[in-house]
Structures are given as C-alpha cells and as structure tokens.
C-alpha cells in the first residue's frame, strides 16, 4: 500500500482535495448556523483576490508565516520538533527593531545588520534547546515551550524598561533599516506589502538549497532520520543538532525581523503570543516540510486569514469559521491515506494494472 500512489501528480492532488474537503466541512458548519456558504466563500475569495489591496495584505501576512513554517520544517527535517518558533520570532523581532532604531548607518549596512540581529537573536533562542538536547538529551519540546514564555517576558521587560516610546511600543526604526516600500505599497493600493516578501521567497530557496544541495543539509537530513547511522558514518551528530536548531531559530528570528522592520517598524509589549510561530507548525506540516509546499501553505493561511475579514464584513460569518476550515484542511492533508484509499476504490482498474 505504502508506495502505491506516490506519483508527482498525486502529491499535488492530495492537498487540493484536502482543501476542497476543508471548505466542504466549513460549508456544513455555516449551513448549520444558518448562513449561506456560497455567499461566504464568494466573500472570502474576493477578500483575497477581489482588490489589489487585499492581495497585497495577503502577501504581507504570509511573509512571517513562510519564515515560521521554514523554521519548523527545518528542525523537523533534522529530527527535532521546534515548538519554540514563537519565542524565537519574538526575540528576532525585538533585536531587529532595536538595531533598526538605535543606530545610524547607511541603509546598505543598516538594513542587513538589523536583519542579521534578528537572525542571531532567533538563533540564540534556538541554540539553547539544541544544546541541551545534544549534550544532556533534554527533550526539545519542553525546552522550546519554556523558551517561548521566557522570550515574551524578557522582550517585554526590555521594551518596558529601556525602549518604551509611546503607549506600548518602541520608537520606529529609522528609514535606513525599514523594509517598508512605498513602491510595493503603492502598487497594492496602500497595503503593507514590503520587501520582506521577497526575502521570504529567497528564504524558501535558501532552505531548499541548504537541505538538498549542501553537505551540511545532507547531514541534517541524515541525522534527522537516523542518528545512529549518522554517527557510524562519521557525522558529528551533536554539532548537527545544535546547528540545525540554530538555523531553525534564525529562520524564525528573520521572520520576526520581517514583521518588525517591514509590517510594523516597531515592536510593542506583547500582551500575548503572536501565534505566528504556532501557526508555523501548521504551515510547515501542511507544506510537507518542503520549501515550495511551505510557500503555498503560507499563502493559503495568509489568504484565509485575510479573506476572513471580508467574509465577516460581507457575509456576516464569524472569523472563527476560518479557523475551523483551516483545522479541517490540516486533518484531511494529514489523513491523505483516506484520500488514497477512496481513490483506490474509485479506480480499481488502475490498481490492478500496476
């Protein structure tokens, strides 16, 4: 059964079918609550594609999701479950913004430096669980969960005591460290689309490249699948665990930097988690932990969340319905076995022919 239907085509078909089922489930929920699903979905679609502004916002929204998805997926490929993307993203956001306003430099240095600061902060936050896992075999899931809370409180502490500007936030990053783009914004009718979107695309490429084209990536995947055999093959398993968590954290940190330098251009006291990191788990898994898949699943996530606003405005559908749809899509993607099974029942001659 296992390798029965693993054609390329099926790889694409399954998510599409899952998305269809997800929407079907959402429609049932809406019917149950006395709403018209067709109106709702028309509103949803036009809330993504109906106006260039919404489309721009969708792309803006998916930017950090791509990063958090990449972060989760990268660790996953190396055999680690990184639930700490949330915290890594927060510290990255914070560090990038602080570098963004605290120093004066020409843009060509300042912007990369601020992004780098985000990457380093995220990497640092990822290294702690990586190191504990590698040296003391402490389960990374616990440490990353704890590190999320620590990140939130520590960042808030520094904002509150060192960088508070107005109300809840720091000052704005200087233009030389800003990713915001009048051009992109103008192109999309004032959406907050910024250059970070293209950096995110580059990051997808980078993740694919690291994992599949470099020596290190080969080792990460090898360690992820089988630590023992990797050790026997002479790989430094501990170093690989630590550095894969660092890279994962760096992806998350840069994701935070994108939000900090592009969307908001400041960082404010976090009164709760951003959820960007937790959503990353779903984005990564929905995207099957591969770069292209993550890009599309981030688009789906970003689009659904953006379109939810229009569904609410035009069709009066509570935004929670979108969450239900997302959940059902994830279920159906995860249960692709079901889809394969149905498929094999529907087309029995195909099976015989093999």
């Amino acid at each position: 059964m296992k390798r029965l239907l693993t054609g390329k085509l099926f790889g694409i078909l399954i998510p599409l079918i899952a998305i269809f089922f997800g929407f079907l489930a959402g429609a049932i929920v809406m019917l149950f609550s006395g709403n018209n699903p067709i109106d709702a979905y028309v509103a949803l679609i036009s809330g993504i594609f109906g106006d260039i502004y919404y489309f721009g916002e969708t792309l803006q929204r998916m930017t950090p999701l791509i990063f958090s998805g990449l972060a989760v997926a990268f660790a996953f490929r190396a055999g680690l479950l990184n639930i700490g993307v949330e915290g890594q993203l927060m510290v990255g956001w914070f560090a990038a913004v602080v570098v963004g306003f605290a120093i004066e430099l020409p843009m060509i240095i300042h912007l990369p430096l601020a992004i780098l600061a985000g990457a380093l902060a995220g990497a640092l936050w990822g290294t702690v669980p990586g190191y504990l896992k590698a040296t003391l075999e402490v389960h990374e899931v616990i440490v990353t969960i704890m590190m999320n809370y620590i990140a939130m409180h520590v960042v808030n502490h520094f904002i509150r005591n060192n960088f508070l500007e107005s109300g809840q936030r720091t000052e704005f990053v200087s233009p030389s460290a800003s990713l915001a783009s009048d051009f992109l914004s103008g192109l999309t009718d004032f959406s907050r689309l910024h250059w970070g979107f293209f950096i995110a695309i580059a990051a997808c490429f980078l993740m694919w490249f690291i994992l599949w084209k470099t020596k290190r990536g080969f080792e990460y995947r090898s360690v992820g699948y089988n630590k023992n055999a990797s050790l026997y093959a002479g790989m430094n398993v501990k170093a690989n665990i630590v550095s894969s968590m660092a890279i994962s954290g760096a992806f998350a940190g840069v994701g935070g930097a994108m939000v900090g330098l592009g969307t908001y251009r400041y960082v404010e006291i976090f009164s709760s988690f951003t959820n960007l990191g937790f959503d990353g788990i779903a984005v990564a898994l929905l995207g099957n932990s591969n770069a292209l898949g993550i890009f599309f699943s981030a688009f789906l996530f970003g689009g659904l969340k953006e379109g939810a606003g229009n569904m609410q405005a035009q069709a009066g559908i509570a935004p929670e319905v979108v969450e239900i749809i997302i959940a059902m899509i994830i279920f159906f993607v995860a249960s692709s076995y079901l889809i394969r099974w149905i498929y094999s029942k529907v087309q029995p001659n195909k099976k015989e022919g093999k």
Partner: protein, 509 residues
C-alpha cells in the same frame, strides 16, 4: 493422513509482488518440518498467513484435518498454533513474565496476579528446560534468553504446533545447541514444529522433512534423511553453491592494526574490554570468536571511534588513532561494516544511492565548497551497485525497500570501495541466505588478497573458521588465545570461548 497442518494452494500478494504463489505445505504430527528458501522467497509470509497475521488471496488451511479460517492471531492461538517470529515480538521494557502473559493475564480482582503468572512461567520453563529469569526485563537479557521467552509465550498459550522463523540467526553456537535440544524436548512432548532457517546444517541435524520454496513458488518437499547440503542448496537457489570459502594461503605483511592495553567501559561503567592486546596484519583475515557479550561490541566501537576507551592505544600503520572521532578514524583508513545494518549501517529513509555515499559525500568531487554534486554522487553509487551486484529498481529507491541481502551488499560496497587499510566486519552475514553469504565471503577474501587487513567479528562459528586466517578468541574482554584457523576446530574453539585453556604445545601464531 495424520497431517496436523495442511496449507493448500496458498496465494498471497503484496502490491507489485506475489509473495506466495500456489504453495502447499503439509506438516505431520510430531515432526520437525523445515522450510527453506532464499531471502525474500516468501517463507515468513507463508507463516504469517498460517498464524493469521495475513489473509491469503487463495488457498485453504486445514488444522488436524479440519478446514479453518485463521482471521487473526487469536484464532491461531485457539487452534494451538504458536509462532516465534523472525524479529522478536517482545516488549523491551516489560519483564519476561509480562511478555509471556500479555493478552491472557491471570487476574486477582482487577489486578494482574503477577505472582501466579510468575509461578506458571517457572513451571513451564522447568518442564521444557527453558531457562529464563521471569522477573528480568527483556532489554537486560541475552538474545538466547529472549528467544526462550518467545518460546514460552507460545507454550503458555498451550500451543502444540510451533513455528520458528529463523530462530538461530542471532544465537551463539552454544545457544543454538540448547535450542536444538529444546526443540527435541518439544517433539518428545508431542508437539510439531515448523522451522525456518538458512543454515542447512541445522536442517540436516534436526529436521525430518524439508519444504523448499523459491521466489514464492513451492519447489517440493524432501525427506531430510535422503538429502545433503548440496542437494538442498541447489533446490533452493537453482544452481550449485560452494560452501567452502575458496581462498589461497594468506600473505601477511606488517601490522596494520595494533591494539595495546585497551580497556573500554560500557554504559554501566563495567570494563567490557579489559587490557586487550591485538594485532591485525596486512593481507590476513583475523577472526574474533567469542560468545556474545564478551566485549566484541565495545571493542569494535572503541576501534572505530564510536566509544571512548578508558585506556590503551590503537595504532593504524603506525599512526595513533586512539581517542579520534569516527570520521578521523575512517579517514585514517578504517572501514566498518556494522552488525546492525538497519540501526547503524543505513539511513533507511534515504535512497540507496545516498546510502552508498554516506562515508564519502563530503569529499571531492562530491562536495565542493560545501555544495553537493548529486550528479556525481549518483553516478558513483550506480557504478558501485553495478560492481557489487546490488539489485534494486534504481539508485533512487529508498534503502528501506531493499532486501536484507542487497542492503548488506550496499554497505559492503560502500565500505570496501574506499580502499581502506583495515576492514572491520561485524557479523557481516547475519540473516542472509547462502547465496548472499557466498558473495560477501568472497569479497572479504578478495580484499585480503589486495593486502588489506580484515578484522572479522562473528558469532557464527562456521564463518569464523571458514573465512579467517587466524582466530583470536575473546573471553571476558581479553584475548585468551590466538589460533591458526586451519589447525583448529569447532570443539577447540568452543572450549576456548567458554574460557577454557588450550593444551600446551599446540600454539601456532
């Protein structure tokens, strides 16, 4: 007819393959019936059908003449069929008793009556001479004892038809002897046994009749008393097989590996290798013989840099490699064929091509400036697969879906191709059929003849005797003696392995 088991015209398909094609197997009451076939011939599948784990597409099963429908292992249990699986079905963290009673636990109120259970187990193990400690955890006991626990599981359920799927693959010679005795006891108690093994000698020793299958098809059933090794092997493979390892005399050169005063602890801090000295010369195969658990694993791990030695030195052609990391040891010229190919030898989710490059991926020309060249990697892997006869649909096939023999060939190709100075081969033929074994032994001898040193660690007495030039016997972490392979025999080795001493004057280094 007094058949206890009749399987007629069994057909079992897996996607893309017919594992059993119209196979017939008839087992008489009170006999040991051997089932023989190459790796992947369909033996385990047939037995799993009998035991109710798989449902056949065609065919009928009769137990004691009655047609039955074995839908799941519970049905098999009720019919008195028990199975000792090829890969042990034991829960590592449970005790022997817990494993045995699992699924039919004696109860006292709502709890398990663990006392009664232990008593029952002790009673059965006494009756059949199956020595076990009912209260130890599986993960703490030897493979032999684990197997006895497996057998007890079936007996506890009152099985009188027992299936043994490759029971001897992982046992020491001593344990094999005990097992054979146990099987005889069982027959005397009126049970019937189906025995799967690749070791023809064992079949000849204990079995009454033997059914041979090849690529899913039944070839026939013979009386063992009218057969010999050659005829059985031919039936199974369809060609002639040589059992003697063909090799010329060794031309030993200077020492390649020399180990001095090596002491290695295991995780518990016990010295498993204790002040050990050893030398392997170029152009010779040095076999390490010993009962499992006498420090072989720790020795190999220390030599290959996987485990840190407490003291002592290891030199390779004069270069001190003690305390070096695995990669450095490899680069110094040591190759390692690990004993557990799934756990240590392969990344099963990688393609077979990637697996073949697991030791060299980082070197030029496969990696330049940290960037992999997959084209070159696969080209190389395909060359190797060609040369070492690794049979798979393509180099992109996942390692998991290769048969054991082909997996092992891939590892050998990978390790040997690097032109190492020293090859450490740990149990290189475990679980393989005679064809594959022949191939691997031939390769090791070839490498010897190219002037390499080969350190062969094996629990298989035949293998050590046939392949090695010299044999070092390890006992409690020390080399107790080194003998010339041509001048020793099974009995002498067995004695040494048990810690005995050779009579003086027979030395030949």
């Amino acid at each position: 007819m007094e058949y206890v088991i009749e399987m007629n015209g069994i057909r079992k398909e897996f996607p893309g393959i017919v594992a059993n094609d119209n196979i017939t197997l008839q087992v008489k009451q009170g006999e040991i019936h051997a089932l023989l076939g190459e790796n992947g011939a369909g033996k385990s599948t047939l037995m799993n059908v009998l035991f109710g784990l798989y449902q056949p597409e065609k065919g009928e099963i009769k137990v004691r003449g009655e047609k039955v429908n074995v839908t799941d292992p519970n049905v098999a249990n009720r019919l008195g069929i028990g199975m000792v699986h090829q890969h042990f079905m034991l829960v590592q963290k449970f005790t022997v008793t817990e494993n045995i009673i699992l699924g039919s636990e004696p109860k006292k109120g709502m709890s398990i009556d663990i006392r009664k259970a232990a008593q029952d187990v002790a009673e059965i193990s006494d009756r059949y001479g199956l020595r076990v400690d009912p209260n130890s955890k599986i993960e703490d006991i030897s493979v032999g004892m684990q197997q006895r626990a497996e057998i007890l599981k079936t007996l506890y359920r009152g099985a009188n038809i027992l299936i043994f799927d490759e029971p001897t693959a992982a046992l020491t010679p001593q344990e094999i002897k005990e097992l054979i005795q146990i099987m005889r006891n069982l027959i005397n108690e009126g049970k019937s046994i189906i025995l799967i093994t690749h070791k023809l000698k064992e079949i000849l020793e204990v079995a009454d009749r033997c059914t041979v299958i090849r690529r899913g098809k039944g070839i026939g059933t013979v009386d063992v008393s009218e057969s010999d090794q050659t005829s059985l092997a031919e039936m199974m493979v369809g060609r002639e097989i040589s059992f003697e390892v063909e090799k010329g005399p060794p031309k030993p050169g200077e020492a390649i590996l020399s180990v001095k005063g090596l002491t290695v602890e295991d995780v518990r801090g016990i010295d498993m290798v204790d002040q050990l000295d050893l030398e392997v010369r170029s152009g010779e195969i040095l076999g390490i013989a010993g009962v499992d658990g006498n420090g072989q694993t720790e020795l190999v791990e220390a030599l290959t840099g996987l485990r840190e030695a407490k003291s002592g030195t290891v030199t390779l052609s004069g270069e001190d490699i003690s305390g070096k990391k695995p990669r450095k040891v490899t680069e110094a010229g040591v190759s390692h064929i690990p004993s557990d190919r799934h756990k240590h030898g392969l990344v099963l989710e990688f393609t077979i091509g990637e697996n073949m490059m697991l030791q060299t991926y980082y070197q030029k020309p496969y990696t330049r400036n940290g960037i992999l060249d997959y084209g070159k990697m696969y080209k190389k892997a395909e060359e190797l697969m060609e040369e070492y006869d690794v049979r798979t649909p393509s180099s992109m096939t996942l390692a998991r879906s290769l048969s054991g023999g082909n997996q092992q060939k891939a590892i050998i190709a990978r390790e040997v191709d690097r032109s190492p100075k020293l090859i450490i081969a740990a149990q290189p033929t475990r679980g393989l059929d005679v064809g594959a074994i022949e191939f691997i032994h031939k390769k090791l001898v070839e490498e010897r003849d190219k002037g390499r040193g080969v350190l062969l660690v094996s629990l298989e007495m035949d293998e050590v005797l046939n392949v090695s030039d010299r044999i070092a016997v390890i006992y409690e972490g020390k080399i107790v003696d080194i003998v010339d392979a041509k001048e020793t025999n099974e009995n002498e080795l067995g004695l040494l392995m048990a810690g005995g001493k050779r009579e003086a004057g027979e030395t030949s280094t």
